[in-house]
Each structure stands twice: as C-alpha cells, then as structure tokens.
C-alpha cells in the first residue's frame, strides 16, 4: 500500500469516527418520577415505548401531570402513593407517574406527542388544557360502552361538558370548581356596609335595611365605597385621589377576557357559523371593567397590578386590601387564604339583566390518541375516577367531586380541615353549580392558543391605557380574531 493510500484510509477513518461521535445517540436512562423528583428531570424521563410487552410483563402506562393541578412539590408524594397503591393492587399494568412543571408542561407534552412518545393518560386537565391539544384526545365512548361505565352519579350536564362535537366523549367528570364572590368582612365592617347576599337571586339588604337588586350596579356601588385613597376618601368623594389608592373594591381575579365577559353572561367568541363575534354581554362586562379601571377606579388597573399593598400569597384578595372578588373554588385553599389575617366569606354572584352566571372550571383525565395501550389506560382511568380513589386525588388537588354522592361530605371535610377558624357558608358553593356557564368560557376556539394570545393583548392594552376608544378597540379585536379563525380553516 503506498503512501497516498494510507493517507486516504486514515482520512476516511478520521472522518467516519468524527461523524459517529457527532451523530451518537444519547444514552439517557429511563427514570421514573418519584416523590420529590426534580420536575425538569421528569420532563425528559421516560423514553421507553409502551408497546405490548413480552408475555408476563406488565403493560406500562404513563400518567402525565402538569397541564393543571398536581405539579406543586407537596402534591408529588400523595400522587405517587396513589400510583403505588394501583401497582400493588394488580400485576397486569405498571403505572408510571410523570410530573412536569406547569410552565413547561405544554411544550413538553407537545414535543412528546410529536416525537411519537405520547404518554397514555393526561390529567388533571381543564378545558383550556384540553383544547390546547385539540384533536389529540381519544374518544372514550367506545370504552365506556364496552365496560358499561356507570355515569348515574354524575350530573348529565357535567358529562355533556366533556362531549365535544366531532371528537366524542373526551373525559369523565372528576373535579369541579364553581365560582362565587369572596368578600373581606373586615373591610365591609370598617366601611359600615352590609355584607353581600349569600343566597343566589336574593336582594342586597343595605345597612339601613333597604332592599336592592343584587346586580352589577349594586356591586359597582359597593365596590366604589370600598375603594379608598391614602387620605381615606372613597371613590365617590370629590377629593378622591386615583393616583394614591390604598384599597380597592372589586376584581375578577386571575381570569381572562372570556372569564370577565362570562361574569355578565355565557357566550363565545365563535359564532354558530364559525365566524368571530363579541357577545353583547361580554362587551358590556368589558366596558364595565374598563370604567372600573379608569373612571370609577374600583378595580386595580395595570399600573396598580404591581403595587406592593396588593401582593398577597393569593394575589390581591389575600393581601387584605381588596373588598370583593369573583373566583373559583380552587382559590379557597390554604395556599391562598391559609394565612389571611382577616375574616372572609363567600357570597352569591350578582345578576346582569336578571340573569346569574357563575362560570365553572372542571378538571378531568384524558387518554391521548397516541396511547399504544388505550385499553389498559382506560382501566387506569376508571381506577383513578372510582368513588374509592377519586376522593384521595381530590384532596390532593383541592377539587370538589363531580360525583354527586361525594360532594357534601367532601365540602364539610374540606372546609373544616383547612379553615377551622372561618365560618364559611359552603351552601354558596353548592348553589353556584346551578348557574354554571354554558357554553363554558374556556371552550374551544379555532387556533386556540393564538386566539388566546390575541385577546390577552387586547386586554392588556385596556388595562394599561386610559382614554381609549373602547368601541374601536373591540372592533379591532373582532377583526383580528376573524383573521385568525379564517387562517385556521
């Protein structure tokens, strides 16, 4: 072999070696998420396929947690306990828990689905989480029919809640979170105001014994009286200084324009023919809120969002400087109100034009279409949703059971355990269920995430800029949504 041949041979070997090094696959071992495991690690953990196992080996079912509740560290151990309990109860299926931090869970799940490595079960997941992955869910109806799944313990409306046109029954009711007004009793006492009514449909009886319809106007007036500046003037006073507010009256805390709109009535941004629309009640709610931000001053606007006096563990209401807010049952939890140094209670949602709408959040578990063992996944699903196991999970996630038979005992236990010092009117929670929004405010929209992004931009603009031409802004939003809907077709 001459010198030139050696030269080419060595060169070729070097190149091949370099190419092999460059293209070498990772040797990441499959690790399961266990109690206390770092959530980031959990996102990359299981790469092993869930193909049919060899004879005798259990089928592996992956349970992905992160789109809703369940990705906070204190929930890891109890969830793993449920998994261990299931695995110990039989030897045909091995359930593996994967917990991903909520802020990265959407990307992680999308990547897993796209990579053909989809988990089997996902949940708890709300409507928003579900519709962010539209088309990715398995219709459970055939499995429910084949197994004669008993739905008699659920409100039929809640079952229907998960029935999506052209996609089927995407979930079985698990946890529900009705909404209502929460109010700070101390601030009402300080202002000499009577508390808002607890009974849905009942009037507001003021401190002088006068009866008034419990509607948005009454709420606004109460809220303005509870809004106070540094000099002690309320929002009705001529000397009120809106640049130095130290206490606000009301807000729809932690919701988006669809949630705020639904405070005035159910609706959808999607018309029956698929075009963009702004429901009349929503436009009224948005205008009411815009005025509340910039002219009536009873709602914290954008610039006040970062104000120190509104920073509580559960946002403005838990700071003790917000008189009332509208929110869901998930907020009535130790993490938000456990350390509240004021008295609070629940009240009925006011009406708008005589109609009460208390928006509903609901969580469930779904099976992905990419699951390679959907039969086994359904078995796990029925286990998790069973009357025996569901209460354990509901305690972990803080959700109210969708099973009617479990609701009252759960509520009693939940409030007594978590808020023994507060005398909370739990009947408000039960009554609120009857006023759930339909269509739900989180329901499907074309190009769900892009549409959400666009209306949030509209909302941020309103929250941060006074003196806008409100009608023009709404018209701009509608046109923008129409463009997105058209592109989505």
């Amino acid at each position: 072999m001459n010198k030139s041949r050696y030269f080419w041979l060595i060169s070729l070997l070097v190149i091949v070696a370099l190419a092999l090094v460059a293209c070498g696959g990772e040797t990441t071992e499959t690790t399961e998420t266990t109690t206390g495991t770092d959530t980031t690690a959990a996102t990359v953990a299981p790469a092993a396929p869930t193909t049919a196992p060899a004879t005798g080996a259990p089928v592996r079912i992956r349970w992905f947690v992160g789109l809703g509740a369940g990705s906070d560290e204190p929930t890891f151990a109890p969830q793993q306990a449920v998994v261990d309990q299931f695995n110990a109860s039989q030897n045909e299926i091995e359930l593996v828990l994967e917990i991903v931090a909520n802020d990265t869970a959407y990307d992680a799940l999308a990547t897993q689905i796209a990579g053909g490595n989809a988990p089997d079960i996902v949940g708890p997941v709300g409507i928003r989480g579900r519709d962010s992955f539209k088309g990715a869910w398995l219709d459970l109806q055939p499995f429910m029919d084949a197994n004669n799944y008993d739905l008699s313990d659920f409100d039929p409306a809640m079952v229907d809640f998960y029935n999506v046109q052209e996609e089927g029954q995407l979930g079985i009711p698990f946890a529900i979170f009705p909404s209502f007004v929460l109010y700070n009793k101390d601030l009402f006492d300080e202002a000499g105001l009577a508390y808002p009514p607890h009974e849905f449909g009942a009037p507001y009886i003021d401190a002088d014994g006068n009866s008034r319809d419990w509607n948005m106007d009454t709420l606004r007036e109460l809220a303005m009286q509870l809004t106070v500046d540094r000099n002690g003037n309320d929002a009705f006073d001529a000397d009120f200084d809106p640049t130095n507010i130290v206490q606000f009256g009301f807000m729809n805390q932690w919701t988006d324009p669809r949630g705020v709109g639904t405070f005035f009535g159910s609706g959808s941004l999607v018309a029956d023919d698929g075009s963009a629309q702004i429901p009349t009640a929503w436009e009224a709610a948005w205008r009411w809120t815009y005025d509340g931000w910039w002219t009536d001053w009873f709602i914290p606007n954008g610039p006040y969002g970062g104000a120190e006096f509104l920073q509580g563990p559960g946002g403005p209401f838990s700071s003790g400087n917000l008189g009332m807010m509208h929110n869901h049952l998930w907020y009535v939890a130790p993490w938000a109100l456990g350390d509240a140094n004021f008295s609070w209670d629940l009240a009925a949602t006011p009406n708008y034009n005589g109609e009460i709408t208390s928006k509903m959040h609901a969580d469930t578990f779904g099976i992905l279409r990419g699951s390679r063992n959907s039969e086994a996944a359904f078995k796990v699903l029925t286990y998790l949703l069973s009357p025996e196991v569901a209460p354990q999970l509901l305690d972990i996630y803080g959700g109210m059971p969708a099973r009617i038979s479990l609701q009252e005992p759960w509520l009693n236990n939940y409030f007594e355990t978590n808020f023994p010092a507060q005398n909370i009117d739990k009947q408000v929670v039960i009554d609120a269920m009857a006023y759930a929004d339909n269509p739900n405010h989180e329901s499907y929209m074309p190009s769900f995430l892009e549409t959400t992004d666009r209306y949030n931009e509209f909302w941020n603009r309103l929250a941060n800029e006074p003196g806008l031409n409100f009608d023009a802004e709404v018209a701009t939003l509608k046109n923008a949504l129409q463009a997105i809907f058209t592109a989505a077709r």
Binding site: A22, L109, K134, G135, P303, E457, N460, E465
Partner: protein, 326 residues
C-alpha cells in the same frame, strides 16, 4: 501571502484564479480534509435542517396532532405575505427597534472603546474588565436583574430618579420602563448598553491596530482631535465597524431573549415587543404551528440575507481596507 490575480471581485473581496500548480493542489487537498469534519457537521446540523424546514413550510403541521400533517403547497407563504398582518407588523417593529438600538449601540461601543484606548484614562485594564464583565453573565439572568432594576414600584432606577432628582418616577404615575410602549425600545437599548463589552473589545482591537504614525503626521499638520477621529480613526476602523454592523443586524433579526424573559413573549406592552423572532417563536412553539413557523423562519432568513447583501454592497463606499488592492 495572498495570490490574488486580476481585478474582479466578489462582494468587495478579490476573486482567486483556479490553482494549477501541484503544490497548490496538494494544499487544497489538505484544506478539504481539514474542513471535512466541519462540512459534515454543517450538512447534518445546519444544511439538512434548513432543507427540512423549507419542507415544513409547505405543510400544515401541528405538534399536538403530528398524524394530521398535510401538504398545503404555498398556503403558509400566502398567509405570511397576505393574510397575517402580524408578520409585516413584526418586521416593522423589528426595524423600528433596530433604527434606535443599532446606531445607539454602535456609537456607545465606539465611545467606550475610544475611552478605553485613551492615554488620559487611568486604570484602563481594570475599566476594560469592568465593561466586559457583564458579557459573562448569562443573558436570562441579566434580563431578570434588569427587570428588577427597572421595576416602576421597587426598582432603584426610579427610586434614584425620584429621591435624588425629584422626578415623579415611582408608583402608578411613575416611569414605567417596561410597560410603556413609547419607552420600551429605549429601555431595551439601555439594557443593550450594559452588554457593550463584546463590541467594545473588537473595536478596541481595531483602534490599537491603527498605525500611530498616521496620528503623528496629522498632528504635525495641525489636525485637532475631532479631525483625527473622523479622518483617521473611524476610516481605519471602518472594517471593524462594518463587522459589528453585520453582527448587529443579524442579531436584531433574532432578537428574542429579552422580550421573552421580560414578557413571556406576549408582545407587551401593547404588542410593541412582538418582534419577528418573537412571532416566529409564538407560532412555532406556543401555538405549535410548525409549518407556518418554518415559513416565518425562512422569511427571517431571507430578509437577513437581503440586508447583509445590501450592507456588503454599501461597504465599498465607506469601508476602508488598507490591505486591499482595489
């Protein structure tokens, strides 16, 4: 030594004639061998993904439903050019921001480099280290620090302005550096000043390469500081400025980290920071529209190429290469 023969050039660089000696062929062979590993890496990790991304731009592909991938021809391109006003708007926002930050950043970098090269400045090594140090801090960490520093309620910039200069800066009526759409580009530019180290070092190297005899001759001729700056210094470091300009333009077409970390890429305040790279990210990785995202990526690439070619085209009028034979 360069063996340029002939007068024809490509983008200002002399074109070389095909080698014909055995020594040149030998050198060329070894040259190819040495760059082959890089070529393989480039092909695998750059060229093939680029081809794939162009393929993606012709399909409708959502990450959540990969099995529903569908060939849509030029639909994504039509959407980007015709149906989606946000693409053009995002490019315009990028250009508007560039029009502020690029000249400001360049002038500031030259200013700092001149300062660090001045014989009148004491402790230059220490000062250079200080100016360069921020570059070593990860961008995300730096951005998060800036978000605290510029917070309208608790940031020390506003507190300083209010307590020392008596300007109403803190609170609801204060200066909202990160939430005011009229201020946000200047805020980002200010944050960019902090990371001037890289450009400063490169310009400083250019400054130190300017022959001192040119200054001595100019001084003898009676040229003052400004004349020396504009007639000698800037022309002599124009290749370095040109390089920084190219890097800056490409960097701005990819400007993403700061708006993403500060605002989660939601475009706030009021859509002002929805630059084209942010819109690309949103479409691809937030909305999972990978096909459309690939189209936007290609538009960014094409615009970046066009701007780079335009800059190279303009170079002959203002960039001075002392070693060029042209």
């Amino acid at each position: 030594m360069t063996t340029a023969i002939g007068r024809k050039t490509i983008l200002g660089f002399p074109r070389q004639r095909k080698p014909n000696s055995s020594l040149l062929r030998y050198r060329q062979k070894w040259g190819w061998i040495f760059i082959t590993p890089w070529l393989i890496g480039f092909s695998l990790f750059y060229f093939l993904p680029m081809v794939a991304s162009f393929g993606f731009s012709l399909v409708s592909f959502n990450l959540a439903t990969p099995d529903q991938i569908e060939f849509v021809g030029a639909d994504n391109w039509r959407r980007a050019f015709v149906d989606d006003p946000e693409v053009l708007a995002s490019f315009i926002k990028t250009f508007r921001f560039s029009a502020i930050t690029l000249p400001a950043g360049m002038i500031f970098a030259i200013f700092v480099a001149l300062l660090m090269n001045s014989k009148h400045v004491h402790g230059k090594i220490f000062m250079r280290t200080l100016f360069y140090a921020p570059v070593m801090i990860p961008g995300v960490a730096a951005t998060l620090i800036w978000s605290g520093v510029l917070n309208e309620q608790t940031g020390w910039v506003n507190m300083l302005l209010q307590n020392i200069f008596g300007i109403q800066a803190v609170g609801v009526e204060g200066i909202r550096w990160l939430q005011n759409p009229q201020l946000i580009y200047y805020t980002y530019t200010l944050m960019g000043f902090w990371g001037v180290g890289n450009a400063m070092i490169i310009i400083l190297a250019g400054l130190q390469g300017v022959p001192t005899e040119l200054y001595e001759a100019a001084e003898i001729d009676g040229a003052n500081y400004w004349q020396r700056l504009f007639k000698i210094t800037l022309p002599m470091i124009s290749p370095v400025i040109f390089y920084n300009l190219i890097i800056g333009v490409i960097g701005l077409m990819q400007y993403f980290l700061v708006p993403y970390v500060l605002n989660g890429g939601d475009g706030s305040p009021q859509g002002a920071t929805r630059f084209i790279a942010v819109w690309f990210y949103k479409q691809s990785f937030a909305f999972f529209n990978m096909g459309y995202g690939a189209t936007i990526a290609w538009m960014i690439f094409l615009v970046g190429i066009a701007l780079t070619i335009a800059l190279f085209g303009s170079a002959r009028y203002w960039v001075y290469y002392s070693g060029s034979e042209d």
